[in-house]
Protein backbone atom coordinates (compact mmCIF):
# COMPACT_ATOMS: atom_id res chain seq x y z
CA UNK A 1 0.00 0.00 0.00
CA UNK A 2 1.29 3.44 -0.90
CA UNK A 3 2.35 5.69 1.97
CA UNK A 4 1.33 9.31 2.35
CA UNK A 5 3.29 12.01 4.14
CA UNK A 6 1.69 14.66 6.29
CA UNK A 7 2.60 17.06 9.05
CA UNK A 8 1.14 16.75 12.55
CA UNK A 9 2.04 19.45 15.10
CA UNK A 10 5.12 20.36 13.07
CA UNK A 11 6.32 16.76 12.87
CA UNK A 12 6.68 14.97 9.51
CA UNK A 13 4.67 11.75 9.65
CA UNK A 14 4.00 9.04 7.11
CA UNK A 15 1.20 6.51 7.19
CA UNK A 16 -0.56 4.10 4.84
CA UNK A 17 -2.91 5.57 2.27
CA UNK A 18 -6.42 5.24 3.65
CA UNK A 19 -5.31 5.68 7.27
CA UNK A 20 -7.19 8.18 9.42
CA UNK A 21 -5.52 11.17 11.06
CA UNK A 22 -6.00 9.39 14.38
CA UNK A 23 -4.21 6.24 13.15
CA UNK A 24 -1.36 8.30 11.71
CA UNK A 25 -1.04 10.22 15.00
CA UNK A 26 -1.04 7.05 17.13
CA UNK A 27 1.66 5.53 14.92
CA UNK A 28 3.76 8.67 15.33
CA UNK A 29 3.30 8.67 19.10
CA UNK A 30 1.10 11.79 19.11
CA UNK A 31 -1.75 11.56 21.59
CA UNK A 32 -5.22 12.79 20.61
CA UNK A 33 -7.96 12.45 23.25
CA UNK A 34 -10.69 9.99 22.20
CA UNK A 35 -13.82 8.59 23.79
CA UNK A 36 -16.02 6.88 21.19
CA UNK A 37 -13.01 5.34 19.41
CA UNK A 38 -12.49 1.68 20.26
CA UNK A 39 -9.73 -0.53 18.87
CA UNK A 40 -11.31 -3.41 16.98
CA UNK A 41 -14.38 -1.67 15.52
CA UNK A 42 -14.87 1.03 12.90
CA UNK A 43 -15.06 4.68 14.00
CA UNK A 44 -18.27 6.69 14.25
CA UNK A 45 -17.12 10.25 15.01
CA UNK A 46 -19.77 10.38 17.73
CA UNK A 47 -18.07 12.11 20.67
CA UNK A 48 -16.20 14.99 18.96
CA UNK A 49 -13.29 14.84 21.42
CA UNK A 50 -10.71 14.02 18.75
CA UNK A 51 -11.44 17.22 16.78
CA UNK A 52 -8.33 18.60 15.05
CA UNK A 53 -7.47 21.61 12.91
CA UNK A 54 -6.44 21.02 9.31
CA UNK A 55 -4.82 23.96 7.52
CA UNK A 56 -7.04 25.22 4.69
CA UNK A 57 -10.22 23.69 6.12
CA UNK A 58 -12.36 26.21 7.97
CA UNK A 59 -14.08 23.73 10.28
CA UNK A 60 -12.80 21.29 12.85
CA UNK A 61 -12.57 17.66 11.75
CA UNK A 62 -12.79 14.49 13.80
CA UNK A 63 -9.41 12.76 13.58
CA UNK A 64 -11.01 9.30 13.83
CA UNK A 65 -13.09 9.65 10.65
CA UNK A 66 -10.91 11.90 8.46
CA UNK A 67 -8.55 10.17 6.02
CA UNK A 68 -5.04 11.52 5.61
CA UNK A 69 -3.96 13.26 2.41
CA UNK A 70 -0.54 14.02 0.99
CA UNK A 71 0.91 17.24 2.41
CA UNK A 72 -1.90 17.68 4.96
CA UNK A 73 -1.03 19.96 7.86
CA UNK A 74 -2.74 18.97 11.12
CA UNK A 75 -2.77 20.57 14.57
CA UNK A 76 -4.06 18.51 17.48
CA UNK A 77 -3.38 20.70 20.51
CA UNK A 78 -4.17 24.38 19.96
CA UNK A 79 -5.87 26.77 22.36
CA UNK A 80 -9.05 26.62 20.28
CA UNK A 81 -9.10 22.80 20.42
CA UNK A 82 -8.46 22.73 24.16
CA UNK A 83 -11.38 25.15 24.61
CA UNK A 84 -13.72 23.05 22.46
CA UNK A 85 -12.69 19.77 24.11
CA UNK A 86 -13.48 21.16 27.52
CA UNK A 87 -16.85 22.46 26.28
CA UNK A 88 -17.64 19.06 24.78
CA UNK A 89 -16.83 17.33 28.05
CA UNK A 90 -18.91 19.80 30.05
CA UNK A 91 -21.87 19.26 27.71
CA UNK A 92 -21.55 15.49 28.11
CA UNK A 93 -21.65 15.87 31.89
CA UNK A 94 -24.58 18.33 31.77
CA UNK A 95 -26.70 16.21 29.43
CA UNK A 96 -27.34 13.22 31.72
CA UNK A 97 -26.89 12.30 35.37
CA UNK A 98 -23.24 11.41 35.82
CA UNK A 99 -22.99 11.32 39.59
CA UNK A 100 -19.38 10.07 39.70
CA UNK A 101 -19.39 9.49 43.45
CA UNK A 102 -22.30 7.05 43.19
CA UNK A 103 -21.29 5.33 39.93
CA UNK A 104 -20.18 1.73 39.40
CA UNK A 105 -17.33 3.01 37.22
CA UNK A 106 -16.00 5.65 39.64
CA UNK A 107 -12.21 5.60 39.31
CA UNK A 108 -12.26 3.46 36.14
CA UNK A 109 -14.28 5.71 33.84
CA UNK A 110 -12.96 7.12 30.56
CA UNK A 111 -15.26 10.17 30.75
CA UNK A 112 -14.19 10.93 34.32
CA UNK A 113 -10.50 10.61 33.37
CA UNK A 114 -10.85 12.82 30.29
CA UNK A 115 -12.48 15.50 32.45
CA UNK A 116 -9.47 15.93 34.75
CA UNK A 117 -6.98 15.38 31.94
CA UNK A 118 -8.55 18.31 30.10
CA UNK A 119 -8.68 20.59 33.14
CA UNK A 120 -12.45 20.45 33.71
CA UNK A 121 -12.76 21.72 37.30
CA UNK A 122 -16.49 22.45 37.01
CA UNK A 123 -19.33 22.50 34.47
CA UNK A 124 -20.35 25.97 33.29
CA UNK A 125 -23.65 24.85 31.75
CA UNK A 126 -26.80 24.16 33.74
CA UNK A 127 -27.24 20.44 34.31
CA UNK A 128 -30.30 19.01 32.54
CA UNK A 129 -31.21 16.39 35.21
CA UNK A 130 -33.28 14.30 32.77
CA UNK A 131 -35.25 11.36 34.05
CA UNK A 132 -33.81 8.12 32.70
CA UNK A 133 -34.32 4.57 33.85
CA UNK A 134 -32.08 1.60 34.59
CA UNK A 135 -32.79 -1.65 32.70
CA UNK A 136 -32.00 -4.45 35.14
CA UNK A 137 -34.02 -7.13 33.33
CA UNK A 138 -31.00 -9.07 32.03
CA UNK A 139 -29.81 -11.78 34.42
CA UNK A 140 -26.13 -10.82 34.14
CA UNK A 141 -25.88 -7.22 33.02
CA UNK A 142 -27.53 -3.85 33.54
CA UNK A 143 -27.99 -0.71 31.44
CA UNK A 144 -28.11 2.65 33.23
CA UNK A 145 -29.21 5.32 30.73
CA UNK A 146 -28.23 8.04 33.22
CA UNK A 147 -24.54 7.38 32.51
CA UNK A 148 -24.80 6.85 28.74
CA UNK A 149 -22.98 9.29 26.44
CA UNK A 150 -24.30 7.72 23.20
CA UNK A 151 -20.80 6.85 21.97
CA UNK A 152 -22.31 3.70 20.34
CA UNK A 153 -19.32 1.53 21.23
CA UNK A 154 -21.77 -1.12 22.55
CA UNK A 155 -23.79 -1.01 19.33
CA UNK A 156 -20.70 -1.41 17.15
CA UNK A 157 -19.24 -4.35 19.08
CA UNK A 158 -22.66 -6.05 19.21
CA UNK A 159 -23.13 -5.84 15.45
CA UNK A 160 -19.59 -6.11 14.16
CA UNK A 161 -17.71 -8.37 16.59
CA UNK A 162 -20.43 -10.53 18.12
CA UNK A 163 -22.72 -10.27 15.07
CA UNK A 164 -25.82 -10.42 17.26
CA UNK A 165 -27.31 -7.04 16.34
CA UNK A 166 -29.16 -6.68 19.64
CA UNK A 167 -28.08 -3.17 20.59
CA UNK A 168 -29.24 -0.16 18.64
CA UNK A 169 -30.01 3.55 18.99
CA UNK A 170 -33.56 4.92 19.10
CA UNK A 171 -34.82 8.51 19.22
CA UNK A 172 -33.20 11.72 18.10
CA UNK A 173 -30.69 14.20 19.50
CA UNK A 174 -30.18 14.34 23.24
CA UNK A 175 -33.25 12.12 23.66
CA UNK A 176 -31.60 9.26 21.77
CA UNK A 177 -31.07 6.14 23.81
CA UNK A 178 -29.66 2.65 23.55
CA UNK A 179 -32.23 -0.08 22.95
CA UNK A 180 -32.25 -3.87 22.77
CA UNK A 181 -34.01 -5.48 19.83
CA UNK A 182 -37.30 -3.61 19.31
CA UNK A 183 -36.88 -1.34 22.36
CA UNK A 184 -37.89 -4.08 24.78
CA UNK A 185 -36.42 -5.03 28.15
CA UNK A 186 -32.90 -6.40 27.64
CA UNK A 187 -33.82 -9.58 29.51
CA UNK A 188 -36.55 -10.30 26.93
CA UNK A 189 -34.20 -9.97 23.95
CA UNK A 190 -34.20 -12.99 21.64
CA UNK A 191 -30.98 -12.00 19.86
CA UNK A 192 -28.69 -11.18 22.81
CA UNK A 193 -26.13 -13.95 23.33
CA UNK A 194 -25.14 -12.60 26.77
CA UNK A 195 -21.54 -12.41 25.51
CA UNK A 196 -20.83 -9.25 27.51
CA UNK A 197 -18.84 -7.48 24.78
CA UNK A 198 -21.02 -4.37 25.10
CA UNK A 199 -20.23 -4.24 28.80
CA UNK A 200 -16.49 -4.51 28.11
CA UNK A 201 -16.77 -1.78 25.46
CA UNK A 202 -18.61 0.81 27.58
CA UNK A 203 -16.41 3.78 28.54
CA UNK A 204 -18.63 4.89 31.45
CA UNK A 205 -20.91 3.22 33.98
CA UNK A 206 -23.83 2.86 31.54
CA UNK A 207 -23.31 -0.88 31.04
CA UNK A 208 -22.29 -2.94 34.01
CA UNK A 209 -22.16 -6.42 35.46
CA UNK A 210 -25.01 -6.90 37.89
CA UNK A 211 -23.98 -6.97 41.51
CA UNK A 212 -21.25 -4.38 41.07
CA UNK A 213 -21.51 -1.43 43.38
CA UNK A 214 -19.77 1.97 43.49
CA UNK A 215 -16.31 1.96 41.89
CA UNK A 216 -16.32 -1.84 41.39
CA UNK A 217 -16.78 -1.94 37.62
CA UNK A 218 -13.47 -2.51 35.83
CA UNK A 219 -13.11 -3.68 32.24
CA UNK A 220 -10.44 -4.36 29.68
CA UNK A 221 -11.52 -3.20 26.20
CA UNK A 222 -8.22 -4.45 24.70
CA UNK A 223 -9.81 -7.94 24.82
CA UNK A 224 -12.06 -6.82 21.97
CA UNK A 225 -9.13 -5.75 19.76
CA UNK A 226 -7.50 -9.09 20.63
CA UNK A 227 -10.51 -11.03 19.32
CA UNK A 228 -10.64 -9.01 16.09
CA UNK A 229 -6.92 -9.32 15.51
CA UNK A 230 -7.03 -13.09 16.08
CA UNK A 231 -10.00 -13.47 13.77
CA UNK A 232 -8.83 -11.28 10.91
CA UNK A 233 -5.04 -11.63 10.97
CA UNK A 234 -4.73 -14.97 12.75
CA UNK A 235 -2.44 -13.26 15.24
CA UNK A 236 -2.82 -14.26 18.86
CA UNK A 237 -1.05 -11.28 20.41
CA UNK A 238 -1.68 -11.04 24.14
Amino acid sequence: MAAKTLNINGKQVSADEGATILEAAIEAGIKIPTLCHLDGVYDAGACRLCLVEVTGVNKLLSACTTRIAEGMEVHTDTEQLRKYRRMTLELLFAERNHTCSACVSNGHCELQALAWQNGMDHVRYDYCFPRWSVDASHPRYGLDHNRCILCTRCVRVCWHIEGAGTKNVAGRGAKSFIIDDLAQPWGDSETCTSCGKCVIACPTGALFTRGSTVAEMERDPSKLAFIVNARERKQWVV
Binding site: S101, W116, D121, H122, Y127, F129
Partner: protein
Amino acid sequence: MGRLRIATVWLGGCSGCHMSFLDLDEFLIDLAGKVDLVYSPLIDVKEYPENVDVCLIEGAVCNRDNLEMLLDVRERTKVLVSFGDCAVTGNVPAIRNQLGARSSENVLQTAYIDNAQANQRLPSKDGIIPTLLERVRPIHEVVAVEAYMPGCPPSAQRIRALLECVLEGRPPKLEGEMLRFG
Protein backbone atom coordinates in the same frame (compact mmCIF):
# COMPACT_ATOMS: atom_id res chain seq x y z
CA MET B 1 -0.12 41.77 56.83
CA GLY B 2 -2.11 40.10 59.59
CA ARG B 3 -2.83 36.40 59.77
CA LEU B 4 -5.09 34.97 57.07
CA ARG B 5 -8.71 34.67 58.09
CA ILE B 6 -9.99 31.27 56.94
CA ALA B 7 -13.50 29.82 57.23
CA THR B 8 -15.23 26.59 56.31
CA VAL B 9 -18.98 26.30 55.73
CA TRP B 10 -21.27 23.28 55.56
CA LEU B 11 -24.37 23.57 53.34
CA GLY B 12 -26.23 20.61 51.76
CA GLY B 13 -23.65 17.84 52.07
CA CYS B 14 -22.83 14.88 54.28
CA SER B 15 -19.91 16.59 56.11
CA GLY B 16 -17.53 14.09 54.49
CA CYS B 17 -15.47 16.99 53.12
CA HIS B 18 -15.06 18.32 56.65
CA MET B 19 -14.06 14.85 57.85
CA SER B 20 -11.45 14.86 55.10
CA PHE B 21 -10.30 18.29 56.34
CA LEU B 22 -9.67 16.66 59.74
CA ASP B 23 -7.59 14.03 57.91
CA LEU B 24 -4.99 16.77 57.40
CA ASP B 25 -3.64 15.46 60.75
CA GLU B 26 -0.44 17.23 61.85
CA PHE B 27 -0.73 19.78 59.03
CA LEU B 28 -3.67 21.16 61.02
CA ILE B 29 -1.17 22.15 63.72
CA ASP B 30 1.04 23.96 61.16
CA LEU B 31 -2.10 25.59 59.79
CA ALA B 32 -3.25 26.73 63.23
CA GLY B 33 0.11 28.46 63.63
CA LYS B 34 -0.35 30.43 60.41
CA VAL B 35 -4.05 31.26 60.02
CA ASP B 36 -7.07 32.15 62.11
CA LEU B 37 -10.01 29.80 61.63
CA VAL B 38 -12.75 32.37 62.12
CA TYR B 39 -15.82 30.28 61.29
CA SER B 40 -16.44 26.55 60.82
CA PRO B 41 -18.77 23.76 61.93
CA LEU B 42 -15.66 22.49 63.72
CA ILE B 43 -15.48 25.52 66.05
CA ASP B 44 -18.00 27.34 68.19
CA VAL B 45 -18.77 30.59 66.37
CA LYS B 46 -22.41 31.38 65.66
CA GLU B 47 -22.24 34.21 63.15
CA TYR B 48 -20.25 34.24 59.88
CA PRO B 49 -17.83 37.17 60.39
CA GLU B 50 -16.83 40.03 58.07
CA ASN B 51 -13.55 40.16 56.12
CA VAL B 52 -12.87 36.48 55.58
CA ASP B 53 -9.90 35.88 53.24
CA VAL B 54 -10.64 32.33 52.12
CA CYS B 55 -13.70 30.14 52.66
CA LEU B 56 -14.04 26.45 51.77
CA ILE B 57 -17.72 25.81 51.22
CA GLU B 58 -19.03 22.25 51.35
CA GLY B 59 -22.38 21.11 49.99
CA ALA B 60 -24.95 22.09 47.40
CA VAL B 61 -27.56 24.84 47.76
CA CYS B 62 -30.67 22.85 48.71
CA ASN B 63 -32.88 25.07 50.87
CA ARG B 64 -33.61 28.64 52.00
CA ASP B 65 -31.17 28.41 54.94
CA ASN B 66 -28.38 27.32 52.55
CA LEU B 67 -29.21 30.14 50.16
CA GLU B 68 -29.27 32.89 52.81
CA MET B 69 -26.05 31.60 54.34
CA LEU B 70 -24.34 31.48 50.94
CA LEU B 71 -25.30 35.06 50.11
CA ASP B 72 -23.84 36.27 53.44
CA VAL B 73 -20.69 34.19 52.91
CA ARG B 74 -20.17 35.59 49.43
CA GLU B 75 -20.57 39.16 50.62
CA ARG B 76 -18.06 38.75 53.45
CA THR B 77 -15.43 36.58 51.70
CA LYS B 78 -12.63 37.43 49.27
CA VAL B 79 -11.85 33.96 47.91
CA LEU B 80 -14.63 31.40 47.82
CA VAL B 81 -13.68 27.78 47.13
CA SER B 82 -16.28 25.15 46.11
CA PHE B 83 -15.24 22.35 48.43
CA GLY B 84 -16.12 18.86 47.18
CA ASP B 85 -18.46 17.40 44.55
CA CYS B 86 -21.74 18.60 46.12
CA ALA B 87 -20.52 22.19 46.00
CA VAL B 88 -19.03 21.79 42.50
CA THR B 89 -21.66 19.64 40.75
CA GLY B 90 -24.69 19.25 43.05
CA ASN B 91 -23.72 15.57 43.32
CA VAL B 92 -25.99 13.35 45.46
CA PRO B 93 -28.25 16.11 46.89
CA ALA B 94 -29.04 17.18 43.30
CA ILE B 95 -30.32 13.72 42.34
CA ARG B 96 -33.75 14.93 43.48
CA ASN B 97 -33.75 17.44 40.59
CA GLN B 98 -34.67 14.44 38.42
CA LEU B 99 -38.05 14.43 40.16
CA GLY B 100 -39.05 17.42 38.03
CA ALA B 101 -40.20 21.00 38.51
CA ARG B 102 -41.91 20.21 41.81
CA SER B 103 -38.94 18.25 43.13
CA SER B 104 -39.16 19.89 46.58
CA GLU B 105 -42.60 18.36 47.16
CA ASN B 106 -41.84 15.17 45.30
CA VAL B 107 -38.67 14.43 47.26
CA LEU B 108 -40.56 14.52 50.58
CA GLN B 109 -43.33 12.37 49.13
CA THR B 110 -40.75 9.87 47.83
CA ALA B 111 -38.72 9.72 51.03
CA TYR B 112 -41.42 9.87 53.72
CA ILE B 113 -44.42 8.24 52.03
CA ASP B 114 -43.66 6.16 48.91
CA ASN B 115 -40.47 4.50 50.14
CA ALA B 116 -41.16 4.54 53.87
CA GLN B 117 -41.48 1.15 55.56
CA ALA B 118 -43.43 2.52 58.55
CA ASN B 119 -44.93 5.76 59.93
CA GLN B 120 -45.73 7.15 56.50
CA ARG B 121 -46.28 10.86 57.05
CA LEU B 122 -44.65 14.13 56.11
CA PRO B 123 -42.70 15.97 58.81
CA SER B 124 -45.05 18.83 59.63
CA LYS B 125 -43.73 20.54 62.78
CA ASP B 126 -42.99 24.20 62.12
CA GLY B 127 -39.39 24.85 61.13
CA ILE B 128 -38.36 21.19 61.33
CA ILE B 129 -37.39 21.21 57.66
CA PRO B 130 -36.08 24.43 56.09
CA THR B 131 -38.04 25.40 52.98
CA LEU B 132 -36.59 23.35 50.14
CA LEU B 133 -35.63 25.08 46.89
CA GLU B 134 -37.29 23.79 43.72
CA ARG B 135 -33.88 22.94 42.30
CA VAL B 136 -30.68 21.93 44.10
CA ARG B 137 -27.78 23.94 42.66
CA PRO B 138 -24.01 23.82 42.74
CA ILE B 139 -22.46 26.93 44.38
CA HIS B 140 -21.28 28.58 41.15
CA GLU B 141 -24.83 28.58 39.72
CA VAL B 142 -25.81 30.94 42.56
CA VAL B 143 -22.76 33.12 43.31
CA ALA B 144 -19.31 33.67 41.77
CA VAL B 145 -16.66 31.18 42.90
CA GLU B 146 -12.89 31.71 42.70
CA ALA B 147 -11.69 28.08 42.85
CA TYR B 148 -12.96 24.52 42.63
CA MET B 149 -11.94 21.45 44.59
CA PRO B 150 -13.72 18.36 43.17
CA GLY B 151 -13.77 15.03 45.00
CA CYS B 152 -16.23 13.01 47.08
CA PRO B 153 -14.67 13.77 49.41
CA PRO B 154 -11.53 15.61 48.23
CA SER B 155 -8.55 13.85 49.82
CA ALA B 156 -6.61 15.57 52.60
CA GLN B 157 -3.72 15.81 50.12
CA ARG B 158 -5.93 17.80 47.76
CA ILE B 159 -7.13 20.11 50.53
CA ARG B 160 -3.53 20.63 51.60
CA ALA B 161 -2.41 21.46 48.01
CA LEU B 162 -5.06 24.15 47.80
CA LEU B 163 -4.35 25.57 51.26
CA GLU B 164 -0.64 25.72 50.41
CA CYS B 165 -1.46 27.97 47.43
CA VAL B 166 -3.31 30.22 49.86
CA LEU B 167 -0.50 30.23 52.43
CA GLU B 168 2.02 31.13 49.73
CA GLY B 169 -0.16 34.03 48.59
CA ARG B 170 -0.98 32.45 45.21
CA PRO B 171 -4.51 32.18 43.77
CA PRO B 172 -5.75 28.72 44.75
CA LYS B 173 -5.86 26.32 41.80
CA LEU B 174 -5.71 22.55 41.50
CA GLU B 175 -4.48 20.73 38.43
CA GLY B 176 -4.21 17.26 36.88
CA GLU B 177 -5.60 14.29 38.79
CA MET B 178 -6.38 16.59 41.74
CA LEU B 179 -9.41 17.64 39.65
CA ARG B 180 -10.94 14.16 39.46
CA PHE B 181 -14.60 14.00 40.40
CA GLY B 182 -15.99 11.20 42.54
